[in-house]
Symmetry: D3
């Protein structure tokens, strides 16, 4: 313990064995609540970096060890932009959606499936040590994400029409931790880029997940987007619907909030937007009494 240890680190170092055990025991009611249930966790591209990935990997492995079945779904916008530029291509967007020609699609797919997904799998398996349990899945695999083209002018951008969740469920039954890239395919095998927030929601509904958790680079939904202390801790679906209708939420959050709303209305009991920058945010949300981020439920039974 060095002179400039944080108070928290100091506190941790002073715990007796019994106090340490008590902290474990305090997780028991949460474990009993979520054991055997599924949680879909969406990571935005911005939230992905080696250090927070490592903490997330630990969270996911701990959750797995207490019987929570986690599926990770990731995006990767910034990383795709970087790779496009590296091969001399300018990213292009229309109404916030990436215009995806065949060459762009190829790069998107390589970056999502061949890099970001891989790095997450590598991080989790590196933490898991002797028993590597993470594996990568793309929406193209075993028909996981069936899509149709959204709009010809956007190119290969697809909307999910069907989720074949059985492949994920089998992997979870086998103790695996699937990491999903959101490339979908149509009946001819043609791949399409799919928005990861939407794909995560569709997967959560199809799996009968207990929770969907969006890890973002903000504390949650804020009353005032500029004031990080103005967190809205909980909302019912009708309240959220109204806020979206009246534009009373910051624009950047709308797609994620809409996905939360649709998840809850599609039967997922809990949707959360939490701060992926807080180390172990996922574990804090699931296994401790500490509130974190914004929770959305159908009704106000908190």
């Amino acid at each position: 313990m060095t002179a400039n240890a944080t108070p928290a680190a100091l506190a941790k170092s002073q715990l007796t064995p019994t106090s340490t055990a008590e902290i474990l025991v305090e997780a028991l009611p949460y474990i009993q609540e979520f054991a055997g249930k599924s949680v879909v966790v969406k990571l935005g591209g911005a939230a992905i970096d080696p250090e927070s990935d490592r903490a997330l990997a630990q969270d996911v492995l701990l959750l797995r060890s207490v019987g929570v079945r986690c599926v990770l779904v990731h995006g990767g916008g910034p990383q795709v932009d970087a790779m496009l530029r590296r091969v001399g291509k300018q990213p292009e967007f229309r109404d916030g959606l990436r215009v995806t020609d065949a060459e762009t699609l190829e790069i998107v797919r390589m970056v999502l499936v061949g890099k970001i997904n891989r790095d997450l799998v590598a991080t989790i398996n590196g933490e898991a040590g002797a028993e590597p349990v993470a594996l990568g899945v793309s929406g193209e695999d075993a028909g996981l994400l069936r899509v149709t083209q959204r709009d010809a002018s956007l190119g290969f951008v697809g909307d999910v029409t069907e989720v074949r969740a059985q492949h994920l469920l089998k992997l979870l039954d086998g103790g695996m931790v699937p990491v999903v890239s959101t490339i979908g395919a149509d009946e001819n095998g043609q791949p399409f880029n799919v928005n990861a927030d939407e794909a995560a929601k569709a997967i959560a509904i199809a799996m009968g997940a207990e929770k969907i958790v969006y890890l973002t680079a903000a504390p949650g939904l804020l009353e005032d987007a500029k004031d990080e202390t103005s967190l809205v801790p909980r909302l019912t679906a009708p309240e959220l619907r109204e806020r979206i209708a009246h534009d009373s939420v910051g624009g950047g959050m709308i797609p994620k909030l809409t996905a939360c709303l649709e998840a809850v209305e599609g039967g997922v009991p809990y949707a959360h937007i939490i701060d992926g920058r807080v180390p172990h945010a996922l574990l804090i949300e699931l296994l401790t009494r500490h509130g974190i981020g914004t929770m959305i439920r159908q009704e106000a039974n908190w």
Copy 2:
């Protein structure tokens, strides 16, 4: 936090959410090591009281939730003595063994199966809440403990000749927590009183348990029985055998140490004697980095 909070309680109250989560994460390697394995925990009658039972119940439920399969085996000498006196009968011992006539046997059985076992089951199920998972088993049930009479002069005192562990294994497969009273039976169904330390050892061997843990009213094996700080933290089986042979351990501990030795020599990788008076001693031993009590292994690969 009141003015007279202990330093540990104070430390605990100052933990940040992330530090709390880190303590959970630090249990992960231990969980990975023991998940799916079986642990037999022996409680002496002296170690049984409502408060420590409650902590033990929490430990067992937490261990169960991370996949450790716990079997509790209990004794109950003091409680039997009390009941004998209550019905006007004087407890009688020869060479440390209870002389067990038919009437004594009836009382032993009532106290162990009908009181101590019941109280443990009630405590665990009270902690478990909506999903009660504890259940009582006697060595007479489904032939769990087959015995023969030790010595006619001792009356109904039996030695274990066979353990039918399959019944316990099935219960564990079904997510149950068996609590075992050590009354055995011979082929004619005649019950016998069995020493609980020995029964626990026989069960651990028959189940292929990973660990046997004896909860006692001492810190473990002490170099000097009067000095609680003279703990012997670890011993190999040959070292222990030598100490027992040379009487270099306190008499009271010999039966328990002999059971540990036979467990390890019978194939149980770890035997422990730990202090049942420390709250959450079982959890500390299994899921934290804190050393506690005395560990015995076949060889010195600590």
Copy 3:
């Protein structure tokens, strides 16, 4: 065959091998009818004695061998009274129900779980020989009997609110013969004394049993309680309801008859009250053409 052999014993001794085989064959249609089905058998404390227990054990083992799944449920009033007196406590009743303070509850639990249940298990396993299949279960185990307090003035007397029959069903699937003591528990693990007739009925309904059989110290329901030849061999549920309403049955039988009525109305096809004093009464009822006791069904399809 001694000079004073009974005519029945004499008859039995004169059977040819073929006649003996024919008697076995005559059981076939009954076996075909009940194989794979469950039967709950309730023994009153008065009906329990070593000799008739032994015959009952044989009956249960034979039924098990032809695929009938038996669950025994026992009471034990007289034995509890005796033990209470032995520790210097006077049994106390109000409206036929035992006033159960904490100390009484402890004695009830010890006698039922730790003595009567044990003796039944021992007797069955003694008959079973090489493959002991009986095991004791208390309503506290694995949440079998969830109860609420009936009336504060009666102390720890509970009414069954939920039966978790799955534990019993698993034991039966594994070829076991469960012997059930009727101590229940609430959500906090607090034990309560439960009337065994009611508990047996609740278990039979929850298990989807084919039959519930009450073994009593009477030939069945009698038109005239003083005339053992005035047996009512069968009744429909409506007829029984009317008799109970008009008090046209002897008072002592009312709780048992009410339990029969509720069992049948709860979906158990057959309820029987038979004479536990007749050796092998259970087998006679189930596997022979001989009528015995009183049978209650929903409708008159005998």
Copy 4:
């Protein structure tokens, strides 16, 4: 009960319900010994008639209901001879073996598979009533009996080279009672007539049967073939081998005794030759204390 009732029938009619139940209970140790085990029963053509078939059907169904897995194997010499003559063909034998040309084979197959097997199945299913469990199997089905030609001069007479018992085992697992006709086939599907005594033995060995029982028209092996009271109740395999070598058994019995010897030496613990003319002979042998016929074991542990 008419005036001229037999003493046995009279005895049966005088049994009390309890005595009847006791006779059932006396079968319990035999049931416990044989439950889950397989018994191959060979019926000779001579032993087949409607009345004894009906008693046999009852025996087999009762044995099935207590968990004994029965396979019936039948011959049919006299019936084949009758049908051959009916179509104008003279039965022909060489060294006791039927000379089997193509036309004879066709008749043998029709009579065994299409008549005798059928009649046995019909009788058992008629007794079984609502749950018909018997079904016919020929050695040709699913490769049950693989054979090679014995000797060209005998025509289509085959020796068993391989038994695919898995089909029978699956049927038994499904609760069925297979009735086997002993027509085998070679790799090209060509059918051959197989001696039923030999086929039964080969099936018993391949199935790992506990017993093989030959139902014959004699009380068993007799010291003096003309004196039905000169029964040899038991023999070890070496004793039997010696008797066969020294021709000290009647010629007619030799094939059956040889089959018994080979069965026992092939690992079947018990071989029996019993009197198929005694009603319920099979049940008497298996589930009562009455000795019947001749038993052969490897060693003298009776």
Copy 5:
């Protein structure tokens, strides 16, 4: 390739390996459509001869290897007539139905079960070689076809009242190919002769078959029974119903067409009447793009 090779044989001999592989690949969509589904194939007695049996055996084995679950159902009128005459009995018919006295029934059963069924099993197993998968089943086995007498004046002629398809389904699950003779039985085990066209239909409905295929000695349903080129390739159930009502089909076809109609109306998606004289007709219908025979469906979605 001899000078007088047929053009088809010549064409086949000139295929390159790749063209051969392409023909296999062209079967893929049909395989994907039918894999895991059941097909009931009815063979008339007239369609049975060694050469076409061999081709049919190959078809059935190939279909089995691609996951199509085939059940063969056979008749045998001509063969029964021949045997009746051989034993000196004149076949007798009333309204096209065989008058079946006890002696006739015995012959019918012997010929169907003991000869035709056997020959089909032998042919399939001869083709199957190392892994014989065909086995014979009669409607009497395991209660497959429960029947009642149609009309006392016809003797032992039965109508199917219940099909216990589970036995067939288990055999198919185990990779077997059942060959069914259509002798049924009543509750007393009494056998009855059943029309094979009707039995096949009842089996197909009870199994939830995807198709029923009638192999006949005609190209299918003909507009003009004398003109083999006037084939009606497809019909809806209502169209067929009308044709039958208006007698606009040749009389001989009416029973088969009625069976097709009832199969389709009973839930079998496809019924076919195809030409059993064309080698490999079954395979052509199921796995190639070539149309063959007449197809009946509920509606006109061809």
Copy 6:
């Protein structure tokens, strides 16, 4: 059929339905031989192009439909080189092995996992239509390929030390077609590039595959590398070992031949090198009588 149809196409168009069916039937013995067995198919980067991929996809789907369990393993050297150049990096080799720094590794992984693997999955699923069964797996997933660094000077190039085939076996049990990219990982999750020929061999051995098939851009092993007609159709392992030792095979083939040799010596019964440029080469090898390429076995039992 146009005027300039090839003779093979012409031949195909002239086949009768029966001849077409016969070609299917001729595949039956091959199907019977390989059903239920596993085949590992290695595609070199050079062998990958849309048209032959489509034919390969059809082959794999047809093989799957007849019960052959296929695993595809792919390389991708040319495609990696192209991508490296696209991002301005020069491919670098030492002794035929790619020098793989961190940046190169990232590109290798993106191209193999995110492009080539994806394209194969898309092609197979496009052919599969309604039931997409292909899915991508990387050696990093679930610890499939555990590796250690070969030589620090080569950078992230790994040798396989362990194959966790259970993940592949589960996928095959579920009817999936795994497509494997050969990136492995060490215990810390660090990825390494692995030679695909070697990886395929290691997978085949670990899976207990029946065959390993290398699809190459040559007809097989040639006596004279310049003469495509000098094919060596078969070799025993000792013969191949000698040829490799004496350098009597063309250098380019040596790694592949060594992999074949090690596969066969590791217990894979058949190794093949066949011409991936021939459409449907895989199907020709497996399901037709046409010989193709070079086959290696341990001994000369062809």
